[in-house]
Amino acid sequence: MCARSVTTEAIGKAFGNERILEDISLHIEEGEFCVIVGPSGCGKSTFLNCLSGLVEVDDGYVAYDGADVTGKPVEDRDIGYVFQEFEDTLFPHRTVGENVAFGLEQQDGGLTDAAIDERVEEVLELLNIGETKDSVPEELSGGQQQRVELARQLVRRCDLFLFDDPLADLDYKLQKQMELEMRQIHEELGSTFVYVTHNQDQALKLADRLVVMNDGRIEQEGTPTAVYDSPATAFVARFVGDSNALTGAVVRAEDDEVVVDSEVGEVHATPRDDVGEQAGVVLLRPEQMAIGDAASGRDTTIQAELRGVTYTGEVTEFSVTADGLDREFIVSEPGRPSFGFPGDDVAVGWDAADAQYFERLSVSDSMTVKDIIRF
């Protein structure tokens, strides 16, 4: 199996007066599983459409394996593209088998009917929908339809597959199952996958390379762990994974720490970028905060009030609030520990190394501290 690399250089796109994409340069290696994630309206689907050729770019270029394909129509690019709206894209007048065979029939140097049939049955088996071959899409469940959409792209064994949030319309359980299958399929095919999703959880699970987009630009790209552990901006930290946010300006810097005058008093944090005069945000991961006795002796400890306890199956989430805070923080602990009942006082603390201070909120100028806090 071969795979293609994808390169974009300074891509820009506008619909009417609205700028959708701004100066996007990205290189995706051969065989990579690249996930593009961002909030709805950030331009990620448009970017994918630019990669596929379904949308023409205004500025910049797109290259496959280093060769410019910018003006090439999508039907000549020999790429797979899995749509999110599979209910709308499956051919209603053709059976599942005929839907899946359609792409193979279009390939040059045509396969024989028998060879096509063999490939179709093989891919339907791979996706566990062999029994639907002679049904029309209308007769299938949403999950089955989604697999047919997947099958008719995968059967073509392209070097490059693009996915537009293909699991978004599936129920939770099916989504989890398909996530695992997506990774397996990627390994089996060895092709390059570019996968767009709004679901940061899914993005972290699937990606070799994670690209976070916001407001038509790339906020950060890197491995999932790099993005999660060292977010480049407050937006990334807020969007990828869960976090609690405090705001305030730095009152003094000590070695590689800063002390921030926040809503709950002075807190210790580690600066992620250059420290200036303006107010920034301190972001805390729920699992890196301590609650109860473990909170004492941390770089920062505050007195809080327990508001609620939620057991999620793996961890217990404690929601707490403190004087000066108009919202609740989430602190998570593995297992099912107890720190009292709602209304009880409880100590909450963290080390400066685990609290990230950002003055750079986003690559986009439109983000304010308020937006980050409310996110």
Binding site: L54, E75, F83, E87, D88, T89, R156
Partner: protein, 264 residues
């Protein structure tokens, strides 16, 4: 004692009145076409004499054949243009609205006014000779907007998504149209064609001044009706036309509706 008026009964009576107003002329037309007497009451006795006369009348049969020929050509042109227009109309483009309004103008312009204008333009300005085929463009202007509207209403809502999917799967534009689009819209196209055919067959005023000696069926009817001694043969002609048109429209309607259902 005050009797309560049953709304249901009032509505039924109203419906009967309206339906009677609309359909009685048609029914009496068919009834009198079998009347042994004259054009009016009394109904003397049953006869098929007028039908025999009708089919023996070369002038009328000639006009019907001309109308059918004209309608056939107009239908083919209209169907082709309307399908292309409706397919293009799914995309956003500059002047999209203007094109629709220009098309609709073909419906709202009074037929006789348009007929005079067409005669002025084709006969006087372009110096063309009168004849049956001169009516083709004039009829297409009349039938095209109906066909486009029928098609737009009958297209499956997912046609554009299907088209995109076909392109991504590597299909050329021609293959996409042949294997993905046409199979899905074929019933609607047939329905639109039937509408176009009926509209063209029954259209008289727009081509009134263009035909010369080649009278079409509607014009032949005008000629007979305004002559001094019309016979119930006119009713026979009216009955045949009405029944055939109704059947065609029912077929067309059925095709469009099943096309829409199938798309859902």
């Amino acid at each position: 004692m005050v009797q309560r008026v049953n709304v249901r009964h009032v509505l039924v009576a109203y419906f009967v009145l309206v339906a009677g107003y609309v359909y009685l002329p048609i029914i009496s037309l068919i009834g009198f076409s079998f009347n042994q007497g004259g054009l009016t009451f009394p109904f003397v006795g049953f006869t098929t004499q007028w039908y025999t006369e009708l089919f023996a009348n070369d002038a009328i049969i000639g006009s019907i054949v001309r109308s059918l020929e004209l309608a056939l050509v107009v239908t083919v042109i209209t169907t082709f243009l309307a399908t292309a227009t409706a397919l293009a109309y799914r995309y956003d483009f500059r002047g999209q609205r203007a094109i629709l309004y220009l098309l609709i103008l073909g419906i709202i312009t009074p037929g006789i006014t348009y007929g005079v204008g067409a005669a002025l333009f084709l006969l006087d300005i372009l110096q063309m000779d009168k004849g049956l085929w001169l009516a083709i463009p004039v009829h297409v202007v009349w039938t095209l907007p109906f066909a486009v509207i029928v098609l737009l209403a009958g297209f499956p809502p997912t046609l554009s998504e299907n088209e995109q999917a076909a392109r991504v799967l590597g299909a050329s534009r021609l293959t996409t149209i042949r294997e993905v689009i046409l199979p899905q819209i074929a019933p609607t196209i047939l329905g639109a064609a039937v509408f176009a055919f009926t509209l063209s067959y029954n259209e008289g005023t727009r081509s009134l001044l263009l035909l010369g000696q080649d009278n079409t069926m509607p014009l032949q009817v005008f000629a007979i009706a305004s002559s001094k001694r019309p016979t119930p043969m006119l009713f026979a002609l009216g009955s045949v036309t009405t029944v055939v048109s109704t059947v065609l429209l029912l077929v067309g309607g059925y095709l469009v509706v099943t096309g829409i259902r199938h798309a859902d």
